[in-house]
């Protein structure tokens, strides 16, 4: 690991050797599963917020709103793309990435710009199964990584140092 003295690192000794290396499929699938839970929480919050608003407007004839499946899918997709884009462009990590100690960077190890992050988020939302290619790829790249020229690395520290990702 680079960028700070090893003795001053906030990363535990056993994990230092992996910092900056591309993450494998298990870590990434677990992080994606946590992000899916976050998505459901966000959608649930929006739904109950809407229900509360309807209740305040007309409490007498209030019923929980029935949302068409297509609307749920579109809203879910939009929230997911927005959530992923915002996380990747600000800290480089979603909630799931934070839990698993991962960070999404470009091929040179830099934080993603808005355009690339939005396209990658859209790609992830439309073709999530592409994540599993990480297991088959010798370089641990998902289909999204290959197309968008990005990488997901182990990075347990609070700040990213911008080093180019390495295989291991």
């Amino acid at each position: 690991m680079t960028g700070e003295a090893a003795w001053l690192s906030s990363v535990p000794e056993e994990a230092r050797a992996y910092q900056g290396h591309r993450a494998g499929v298990v870590s990434r699938v677990l992080a994606a599963a946590i992000d899916l839970v976050v998505l459901f929480v966000l959608l649930g919050g929006a739904y109950f917020g809407l229900a509360g608003l309807l209740f305040v407007i007309d409490p007498v004839s209030f019923r929980f709103p029935a949302i068409p499946r297509a609307v749920i899918l579109i809203a879910g997709g939009l929230v997911l793309v927005g959530y992923l884009t915002e996380c990747w462009t600000t800290t480089g990590r979603t909630v799931g990435d934070r839990v698993l100690g991962l960070r999404v960077v470009d091929n040179r190890g830099r934080k993603l710009k808005h355009g690339r992050a939005a396209l990658r988020a859209l790609f992830c939302a439309v073709f999530p199964i592409g994540l599993l290619w990480t297991a088959c790829s010798a370089d641990r790249r998902s289909v999204q990584d290959l197309v968008m020229r990005t990488a997901v690395i182990y990075d347990w520290g609070p700040h990213h140092h911008g080093d180019a990702p390495s295989r291991r």
Partner: protein, 108 residues
Amino acid sequence: MLRPEKWPSKRLRLLAEIGFRQRRAALEEAVRLYRKVTPAVITDVLAQLDLGRIAQDVIDEIDLPELIRASTGSVASESMRDVRMQAIEADETVSRWFGRARRSRPVA
């Protein structure tokens, strides 16, 4: 209280006062010397100490990384660290499996 006829003689009281004044003067002199010598001694001691080495030893002893982890809260707690390490080990295992599979595939 002693009656006046039993008080010590004038000469004895004079000696006591002289002794008192001399003790006070000796104390003042000692304090003056202490204030003069102490800074020089401390400066010399500090100059002879390898403070960098001592600081490094202390940091090594107190496990600074652990303190940083505990104080910042920005890095994983103990359980999160375990989850991450297990995920990394699982990643390595999967990579080894697929690596072996790739190598054993016949070349066309």
